[in-house]
């Protein structure tokens, strides 16, 4: 870092700081402001535990193409997802029936029911930021946002 006791060095740092505001675009401002509409004070968050897109050795091929495997968890509850193209296959663990809502920043939400073992299938998930809201056994849990 520059020595800010020196006037010229402080001015040089100030120039960099002011110049950085030029990196802001209106598109990013609008998206940032709109993020607030997703505020949900009651949401109980599930953390991202695993993402094959950034961790080695876990891409799989069960849907006929390379899929991405994600898991989210909170306490003893886990949501396992396999994402391939616009198709998401998932399972609630422990395997109990429930409903799953996919919330998409750039598209409509979709709601599906799981089968009696907690398996579900969602088609038409658009590329972009999504999160999953799972209701099962009387509790509702929300995943962190993830880019698919």
């Amino acid at each position: 870092m520059n020595d800010w006791t020196d006037d010229d060095e402080l001015m040089a740092s100030l120039a960099e700081a002011v110049e950085e505001t030029d990196t802001v675009t209106e598109r990013r401002r609008v998206a940032a402001q709109a993020a607030f509409t997703w505020r949900d004070v009651d949401a109980e968050l599930m953390e991202l535990l695993h993402d094959s897109a950034v961790e080695a050795g876990s891409a799989i091929r069960s849907t006929g193409q390379m899929s991405r495997v994600l898991s989210f968890g909170r306490g003893a509850f886990t949501l396992e997802l396999e994402v391939g193209g616009n198709l998401v296959l998932g399972q609630l663990i422990p395997g109990t029936p429930g409903t799953v809502v996919v919330q998409q920043v750039d598209a409509e939400s979709t709601t599906v029911d799981t089968d009696s073992s907690g398996f579900f299938r969602i088609e038409g998930v658009e590329p972009g930021l999504v999160r999953f809201v799972v209701t099962t056994g009387g509790q509702t849990l929300t995943t962190a946002w993830v880019h698919v």
Partner: protein
């Protein structure tokens, strides 16, 4: 509310659901987010994704943010982590090109802790500048203009004698060093670890 309101007020406003308070937080920290993103040399679209992810994460994080003063550090670090996550994901999705992988590894190392601190320092400078009286701020901004503005033009535009531009610049910089933003920079808690302070 606007971006010059004290941060704790903006944070508590946003927690209560005030969109204006949220927009003020966005206005204040967008250059920080975009600046960190730029240094990772992502595509424009990937940069947009990282920005959007950052703000969505902050919406979630607001409720558990114990120390508003730790927010710039949290924003800089989280933005960096999202950039690295995206770079790692891109790396795994594309066929491996040894030359390109080496370049990507270089980018991943690009923003070490020192660079994040520099990003926070630039944020503090912008906030300090906003604290200055308008006339002092205008003088500093016009002195930073590119291409440079001559002292004669500055004198005319700001209606001050040429001879007082230098001394006024020195006083403005001294005032900047003593703004809340710059004084707080040295005392700023890192992430959530300095919760007892302030």
């Amino acid at each position: 509310m606007d971006a010059s309101d004290p941060l704790p007020a903006l944070v508590s406003g946003a927690r209560e659901g005030d969109q204006d308070a949220w927009n003020a937080i966005v206005e204040r920290y967008l250059p920080l987010v975009c600046g960190v993103v730029r240094r990772h040399r992502l595509s424009e679209a990937d940069g947009d994704d990282v920005c959007q992810t950052l703000w969505l994460r902050l919406v979630e994080h607001l409720a558990t943010l114990r120390e508003p003063a730790a927010l710039p550090g949290w924003i800089a670090t989280t933005t960096r982590n999202e950039c690295l996550r995206l770079i790692a994901a891109r790396k795994r999705m594309t066929p491996v090109d040894p030359v390109e992988s080496a370049a990507l590894a270089g980018i991943a190392d690009d923003l070490a802790g020192a660079d994040l601190l520099a990003a926070e320092a630039r944020q503090a400078l912008r906030e300090g500048l906003a604290e200055l009286p308008a006339a002092r701020r205008e003088l500093l901004l016009i002195l930073l203009a590119d291409p440079p503005v001559s002292y004669a033009d500055i004198s005319e535009r700001l209606d001050i004698p040429v001879g007082s531009i230098g001394p006024t610049r020195a006083r403005a910089l001294e005032q900047l060093r003593n703004t809340r933003a710059l004084l707080a920079l040295a005392e700023r808690p890192r992430l959530e670890t300095g919760g007892e302070r302030a």
